[in-house]
Symmetry: C2
């Protein structure tokens, strides 16, 4: 047994290593880890107060704290922890659909609603997937173009809404992304809120990544306007040191979770039961739920908001430090000069693949897959990542984006990364590229 | 911090206590607990092979083992671990809907499909909830009556399907329950499979509770016919000692998960990535997923199928032992003489509330809420449970069922319950009822 466990950990990717920058989860905070272990020992279930009185009160307190952070009134809003950001976005779509077409809960969609939703072209793919799941189809998710920073353009949103209305469609939901998956961009919330108000559309924010900035007085301005939302998804398992899974759905309507989800199953939510009024299982998509709020709550007790603020500020500092190194290191170029969050996106471009008209000391590039040199960089990036996986010293992500060829993305996910770890990123990529360029016909 | 943790555990309900019979989760198997802790330390994510190679292979091996247990061909079926039984049932509905109306993935429901599904009146409430979530409405879930044991009547199913067709509706999904929530009944799978085949309807089994019998050669006959299903939900966190959450969705179609769920997000499932062909995140409803398969896998390695067989057989023995005690103890009466699984359902009925025509030594009753004595028992049962909660020595569930007034339900959930623990159940209820009957105007 010991041998199996050791092998599982030895042969796996060390996701909790400070040089794992591949995604926004990494080494958990020790307090959060302890809390998760306690949860597992108690093995309880967030459906009824009779079985989980303490954990239900903890979830309630944690939800109230998060409501205050986003600016919802505690007594006029609600929330629920969910198994992840995709499901939290599903919650948003379901309750928004319920507000738009309340008969659908019982009667189903009639098909003549022609409900459509809007989200940026750089949003998380779960919006489209969940639009399909709730019966609207992926095509009901209308994509809005972004500016060069990756932020949805409000003017285009307004135009697309008007266009949809004139096509006989019914806009019912706008998703703004706070912290896009690749560039880490924050959509302009006040402008989007204004448009939603004007057209009477549900305003949802996917802040799976970006919610964490609310803990930092220096960076919370990125989510200015979030209090105007109807609902918000936020994953504390991203960049906040809380182990998977920890995601929360907050909704700025007091009773809509119960209104939509309640089925009044009388084997579980008995009306004549002592303390039955504290049961929370009848307002959720799931029946049983893990006690995911507890690890966030205990960590908050231990670190305080200041502790989280320190973490978040450190991630921004580390990102800036890496961007500065990129600017001063040969062959590395930024995709964005001043991105809004701590994702650092960059290319490794050997001199022979630099674009026409390139002039030193330019350190921000705009490559295109439609050009030969862009395609070469596209291919080289994937090859570097492939060899990186085999060497096992470092993990950073890569992806294309629209017209842009593959580029690297470093997710600053933990304050435990040292300046040595950050320096190592460029060193390792440089070294791998030398191996590849000297041994291939690229 | 230590104080908070101690308080949380001290003030909570001890769900892992051998006298916690309230639900089908309780004290986790130590190996499963260890595995969950290892998962949390590694904090990885079942979406891409690059970040979770070992855990993805573990999930694959575990799925293959479970496929064999249910009788699916390993290479012609698929599966995914999910956050719980409700979500597993949602998977079933989504892929069945995709098979019935493949255009809906992109185009959405047109409303003229008039899709309907069938499930027993004693099924889990998630069927209705998820029917609503996918856009069909709760009314699309047509309930089929059960026999006195709680099993769906196949003849009535056939009639209701024919009736729906003649009403212009399109039956697309039948849910059979293996182990109903209250009585623990197993719907007759071969007959239901035959009907589904005849009418070309997706055959899903909700074996959240009942799947565990497949580990026991003595009891696996209860799920005879399950290999004929199109899909199966099974929660190893019920009665198998695996801590929450551990639920699996198995589907007897090789590619339908990818066909329906895939969105080809190129920031995560890059086509040019090393080992990208092993990624599993593009066939799931969620984006990130916990490594829930690992705790089941490690426990299976440790206990073997024989170990699980011993556990399951013990639960059946304990249930029989409790039923025998009920038969030999004054004022206790069974709801069912020979239930199919290890839920034990019974009433506490003081002599003054016995029904007309009662004759000793009758030990199985059929009470009704429509009669005065039934209403008294209904009320007394809830009061006993209320005081039980306050005393904190024992937890058993209670609920009404159709016309039947509230009765107690003991979930035999752990082989660690001793004969003393089982004897204690009736003693505690007896004692509480004496307190109540001596101090109230009942």
């Amino acid at each position: 047994m010991q041998l199996i466990c050791k092998k599982v950990l030895d042969m796996g990717v060390v996701n909790n290593h400070p040089r794992f920058f591949n995604q926004l989860y990494t080494s958990p905070d020790p307090v959060a880890l302890l809390a998760e272990w306690i949860s597992t020992i108690s093995n309880t279930n967030l459906h009824t107060y009779e079985v989980a009185p303490v954990f239900i009160l903890v979830e309630m307190e944690m939800l109230n704290h998060l409501k205050q952070l986003v600016g919802f009134k505690v007594d006029e809003s609600d929330g629920v922890f969910s198994p992840g950001g995709s499901i939290s976005n599903l919650y948003g779509l379901l309750v928004a659909r319920h507000k738009a077409v309340p008969y659908a809960k019982e009667e189903g969609l009639k098909g003549d609603e022609k409900l459509v939703l809007f989200s940026s072209e750089q949003d998380h793919y779960s919006l489209k997937k969940m639009a399909s799941s709730i019966g609207l189809g992926t095509k009901s998710c209308i994509k809005v173009e972004c500016d060069e920073m990756g932020r949805m353009k409000p003017l285009l949103l307004r135009n697309k809404i008007k266009e949809a209305i004139s096509n006989g469609q019914r806009p019912f939901f706008v998703n703004a992304t706070s912290g896009t998956t690749v560039l880490g961009a924050f959509d302009p919330l006040p402008e989007i809120a204004q448009i939603c108000k004007e057209f009477n559309i549900w305003f949802h924010i996917d802040a799976a990544l970006g919610g964490c900035v609310l803990a930092s007085s220096q960076y919370k301005h990125l989510m200015n306007g979030c209090s105007l939302a109807d609902s918000i998804s936020w994953n504390p398992h991203k960049a906040m040191g809380i182990p998977l899974q920890c995601s929360v759905f907050l909704v700025n309507h007091k009773t809509i979770l119960y209104d939509y989800f309640s089925t009044k199953a009388d084997y579980l939510f008995q009306q004549d039961k002592l303390y039955g009024e504290y049961d929370v299982g009848d307002k959720s998509l799931q029946c049983g739920r893990k006690t995911d709020a507890f690890k966030l709550w205990l960590t908050w007790k231990a670190k305080g908001t200041q502790g989280f603020e320190h973490t978040i500020n450190k991630l921004f500092q580390n990102a800036e430090s890496l961007r500065n190194q990129i600017k001063s290191t040969q062959n590395f170029y930024l995709v964005l000069d001043n991105p809004e969050t701590f994702n650092v996106c960059f290319w490794y471009v050997p001199p022979q693949y630099l674009p026409m008209g390139f002039q030193a000391p330019q350190k921000v590039l705009n490559l295109s897959k439609t050009l030969e040199n862009g395609r070469k960089v596209h291919q080289l990036t994937a090859q570097i990542k492939g060899l990186m996986q085999k060497r096992g010293n470092l993990m950073v992500a890569y992806q294309p984006l629209g017209d842009k060829p593959n580029f690297f993305k470093v997710c600053m996910n933990s304050p435990t990364a040292t300046s040595e770890d950050i320096k190592f990123i460029l060193q390792e990529i440089e070294q791998i590229s030398h191996i590849l360029l000297n041994h291939s016909s690229l």
